[in-house]
């Protein structure tokens, strides 16, 4: 765990108050989020569920600092990010957040090693440390023997494991996943779920958007969104 997350242990890692997001398409305005209040503690495993178009992905983009809210207050690891500039947001994404996407979003032309190495490059990590870190992560997701393979030479499950390794590269405070099992068969999906459960047990904060009831059950907290608002929030 990084120093920040240790310092914040038992504190809120995500604190959102009155978050609104309006998409202005010119002719019409679409209010995707209509006032979200959400607090996530360090070490929680949150599943965000809800029908398509409910605002789940918008929420995920805001949590991951890929986008900024129209209104409201958002603190990530004690840092207010709502009004940050593009370069600052890039740094936050690089250091605090690890993304796992439904369609993996690996770059197809470079090896899985180079894919995992990318966040370390953007973070300015030295070559020696990069290599050490990538090897360690590839071993951890069980692909130590696939480092030179390009994503196209891997199965869907393997690709998603490379993506998880990449998400962990900079040792982020939070792992953010958007339908991580959505494009996988049930067996590969199960592997990813196991991996997520492991990460959580090791004390990492996880926020997962999913339709997958099995994955949602693994989480200790389920947040349901409807029409841009949180309707239920249950801890198991």
């Amino acid at each position: 765990m990084s120093d920040t997350s240790k310092a914040l242990a038992n504190g809120n890692i995500i604190r959102m108050e009155g978050i609104r997001k309006v998409y202005d398409t010119g002719k019409i305005q679409v209010e995707a989020l209509r006032g979200i209040d959400l607090e996530v503690d360090t070490g929680e495993f949150v599943a965000v569920i809800g029908p398509s178009g409910s605002g789940k992905s918008t929420l995920m983009n805001l949590i991951g600092c890929l986008d900024t809210p129209t209104d409201g207050h958002y603190e990530l690891s004690g840092q207010s990010v709502a009004k940050m500039k593009k370069d600052e947001l890039a740094t936050v994404r690089n250091r605090r957040v690890g993304f796992v996407f439904q369609n993996f979003n690996l770059l197809p032309q470079i090896s899985s090693f180079e894919n995992v190495e990318m966040p370390l490059l953007f973070g300015g990590v030295s070559r020696r440390k990069r290599h050490q870190r990538v090897e360690e992560l590839m071993e951890r997701v069980g692909l130590g023997d696939r480092m030179d393979h390009k994503p196209t030479e891997l199965s869907g499950g393997q690709m998603q494991r490379v993506a998880v390794a990449r998400a962990l590269a900079m040792d982020p405070d939070i792992v953010l996943a958007d339908e991580p099992t959505g494009n996988l068969d049930s067996s590969s999906g199960g592997d990813i779920m196991e991996l997520f459960a492991e990460l959580w047990e090791q004390g990492r904060t996880m926020v997962v958007i999913t339709h997958d009831a099995a994955l949602a059950r693994r989480a200790n907290r389920q947040v349901e969104i409807h029409d841009g608002l949180i309707t239920t929030d249950t801890r198991s």
């Binding site: 890929l66 593009k86 979003n105 953007f122």
Partner: protein, 411 residues
């Protein structure tokens, strides 16, 4: 920030994926570079050659011919003949303050005898400084006239290269003798062939030059035909000319503004005109070449726009992983610059090749020898750099301004 190795890999990959477009675009840059550098090289060579040709006449000299007054002055009527002697030249040499050098020139056509051959040649009697002023450089093994020749009225001669050829063929003329106006003369030097595109009497290669003192003794001539002089500072040639005019006019009592009493040909004006003309000419060539290069730049800008479009999802992913907009901008800009640099390098090589082959065409006398010198290369390179930056900037900025959320979905 960007991994150099993966960066080169990325570039090669992009270019390979777009072989035809890459080829055509590089061709645009290569062509533009060839156009710019070739035009600049030829412009430069042409300029150098023009200067060389003019310099055949002399180093920024002013030529003055005493003639006939055209204005009445201090009660004297117009139409008086002004005739100058050697002591007038001495007077000017002593009085004119910013004068660098001055030499009188006596001319006549005299009979020359060598062996069985008899011919009429144009002979000039001059001061030893004349050789330097008129860029008369002797071929190795000979010399121009010297002050002792002048002081002792030696019967020595300096020959134009064609005259020497006519008289002595392939044998070395230096040390050989001939008779001029009935007196024996010894050859001390032969003119090293030079380009000369203008003259005020016959061309130097046909001339026979002897000391002024010898000329006077040989022919009994008292009056000079003309004199030439130079200013210490070329920029002040006009002032010096006015000063010389004032000195002569004062002594011979004619109006110093009388343009005919002492006719003047200031060859430095020709240099100044040539400089201005060549500057305009080179600018014209440069602009034509640059425009061609700009067209090439537009091609590069186009291909980079396509590359950015194709790599939009990748840019989105990189941004999600923490790549800064600045880094993305730098990456595409760098790619464009490498693109232009490679095209430019090939272009310069082609130009250098053309320049290397050019002398075999034998057009040197007219257009000189074009070379890709440092100036041409530097100018072309900076132009290429500028065009690369501009061509790359807009696509690169478009990439840097992408919204990562939208970009990632563009698969």
């Amino acid at each position: 920030m960007i991994h150099p190795g993966s960066f080169v890999k990325q570039l090669v990959r992009d270019l390979r994926a777009q072989k035809l477009r890459t080829f055509l675009t590089t061709l645009g840059i290569v062509w533009g570079t060839v156009a710019v550098s070739l035009l600049l090289s030829f412009g430069q060579a042409f300029h150098t050659q023009m200067i060389k040709n003019i310099a055949g006449l002399g180093n920024a000299i002013v030529i003055a011919w005493p003639s006939v007054t055209s204005l009445p002055f201090e009660g004297l009527s117009k139409g008086r003949r002004i005739r100058l002697r050697e002591d007038d030249i001495e007077l000017v040499r002593k009085r004119a303050t910013s004068l660098e050098a001055i030499s009188s020139e006596y001319t006549d056509t005299l009979q020359l005898k060598h062996g069985k051959r008899t011919m009429a040649v144009d002979v000039s009697g001059v001061s030893p400084i004349f050789g330097e002023m008129r860029n008369m450089i002797p071929v190795m093994g000979g010399r121009f006239l010297n002050p002792l020749d002048e002081a002792k009225q030696r019967r020595v001669a300096f020959l134009g290269d064609e005259l020497a050829e006519t008289l002595f063929g392939s044998s070395d003329p230096v040390g050989q003798t001939f008779r001029l106006h009935g007196s024996p003369f010894t050859v001390v030097g032969v003119l090293k062939p030079k380009e000369q595109d203008s003259s005020y009497s016959s061309r130097d290669k046909d001339k026979l030059i002897i000391p002024g003192s010898t000329f006077r003794a040989l022919t009994g001539e008292k009056y000079i035909n003309l004199f030439i002089f130079t200013a210490q500072d070329v920029q002040r040639t006009e002032e010096v000319t006015d000063e010389v005019l004032a000195i002569i006019a004062g002594k011979y009592r004619f109006d110093p503004t009388d343009r005919e009493a002492l006719m003047i040909w200031d060859t430095t004006e020709m240099f100044q005109f040539m400089d201005a003309f060549m500057m305009a000419f080179k600018m014209f060539l440069g602009i034509v070449g640059s425009l061609t290069l700009v067209v090439g730049g537009i091609g590069v800008s186009n291909i980079m726009s396509v590359v950015v479009e194709e790599r939009t999802p990748e840019v989105g992913v990189k941004m999600a992983l923490g790549a800064k907009p600045r880094g993305i901008l730098g990456q595409f800009l760098m790619e464009t610059l490498i693109f232009t640099a490679v095209g430019g390098f090939i272009g310069l090589l082609i130009t250098a090749g053309i320049c290397a082959l050019f002398p075999s065409l034998g057009l040197e006398e007219y257009v000189g020898i074009p070379t890709v010198d440092v100036q041409v290369a530097a100018l072309t390179a900076s132009l290429l750099g500028l065009i690369g930056l501009v061509a790359g900037f807009f696509p690169a900025r478009a990439a840097a301004n992408l919204d990562p959320v939208v970009a990632m979905k563009m698969t």
